[in-house]
Amino acid sequence: MNITHLNDAELDLAVLGEELPPPAAEHLASCLVCRRRRDGVLAVVEQVRGDDPDAATRARVREWALAAWGGARARVHWLRWAAAAAVLVVLVLLPLRTGPASAPAPARFDAEAVLTEVNSVLDSDPLAAVVSEEVVNTVVPVPHAVSDRSVAAGERSVS
């Protein structure tokens, strides 16, 4: 009597724990050889997996990760406060920095008005542009009427 054992594909399915076609499943349930093949492979795989780390190692690794996580969270927390403080400082200092700019700006130099003023002075007394009227009167005393006329005509000299 020939016994048909599981073929490769069926044995792979058995190792994977997947559902076998009904005839193959029935065979596996009753065939010690096929079950031993499957269990042998699974046993090797289980051995290759190796032992799990002991409780102390697990705890040490876990604690390290938790501590590093806590440190990272604390850093983020601290950085948030530092950023908020920096923003606050900037907001406080900004008005001081911009203070002088907001003070009344110096009056603008009105060149047109100055020129008009100068022209009017020169028109009334050209020497006034060189020396003061007091000096002129001391050096060349002239009556007011003449003085006014002479000056207007440009005839008087200080030399």
């Binding site: 490769d8 044995l11 792979d12 190792v15 994977l16 031993r36 093949r37 269990d39 042998g40 492979v41 046993a43 090797v44 795989v45 289980e46 051995q47 290759v48 997996r49 190796g50 032992d51 799990d52 780390p53 190692t57 697990r58 040490r60 690794v61 876990r62 390290w64 990760a65 938790l66 590093a68 996580w69 806590g70 990272a72 969270r73």
Partner: protein, 200 residues
């Protein structure tokens, strides 16, 4: 005392979304419980996806820390375990990429001496021949595992070492379940052949 009682209450909660929400708000107890539940998965994934020269504890610490730091990004699609697995796999990929290593482990893989090779052969008499055979089977499977294409290796590790279901693996690797099945079948076939060749 009140803190211990509160922690007990948190531990009893099955709904991880609540724990995640509390941890997001900085609750250390909630975060610790989440890690306690899923750290083993990170150990198992990192252990088999990274070469033995890589610091396993450091990699797991980094995985857990990434998970905590990125809690605000966890949208709740899929389980927290799948999300953690996703972080672990990505971290392993990053480390391998940074070191410019192909994702293969040397033959002297991590944990070679920790396993009991007799467990490979059920109800076997502990004679030297069987022990040697069992050791050989484990070596062959380890070798085959590191030879698998990266995606097949990841799928196999998540299924058989981290104990995840197909949906969880699909979520963790951002692929569909059909793709997971395909990779898993190919990986299992190669691993099974390697195991059986060593244990005739």
């Amino acid at each position: 005392m009140a803190s211990a009682a509160r922690r007990e209450l948190l531990v009893a909660r099955d709904d991880e979304r609540e724990l995640v929400e509390l941890a997001r708000r900085g609750d250390r107890d909630a975060a610790e419980i989440l890690l306690e539940r899923h750290e083993l998965l990170a150990f198992r994934v990192c252990r088999r996806l990274l070469p033995p020269s890589e610091d396993l504890d450091g990699a797991v610490q980094e995985t857990l820390l990434r998970a905590l730091k990125n809690l605000p990004r966890y949208a709740g699609e899929g389980s927290f375990g799948a999300w953690m697995a996703s972080i672990a796999v990505n971290l392993c990929r990053d480390k391998l990429r940074r070191r410019r290593l192909v994702p293969f482990q040397p033959l002297e893989v991590r944990g070679d001496d920790e396993s009991d090779p007799l467990a490979v052969i059920p109800s076997a008499e502990p004679n030297p021949e069987r022990v040697a055979m069992a050791r050989q089977a484990m070596q062959r499977v380890r070798r085959e595992l590191v030879r698998l294409p990266r995606r097949q290796q990841e799928v196999f590790v998540l299924r058989f070492f981290a104990g995840m279901d197909l949906e969880g693996i699909a979520t963790a690797l951002h692929v569909d379940v059909g793709t997971v099945k395909t990779h898993l079948h190919r990986a299992v076939h190669r691993v099974r052949v390697a195991a059986e060749e060593a244990t005739p």
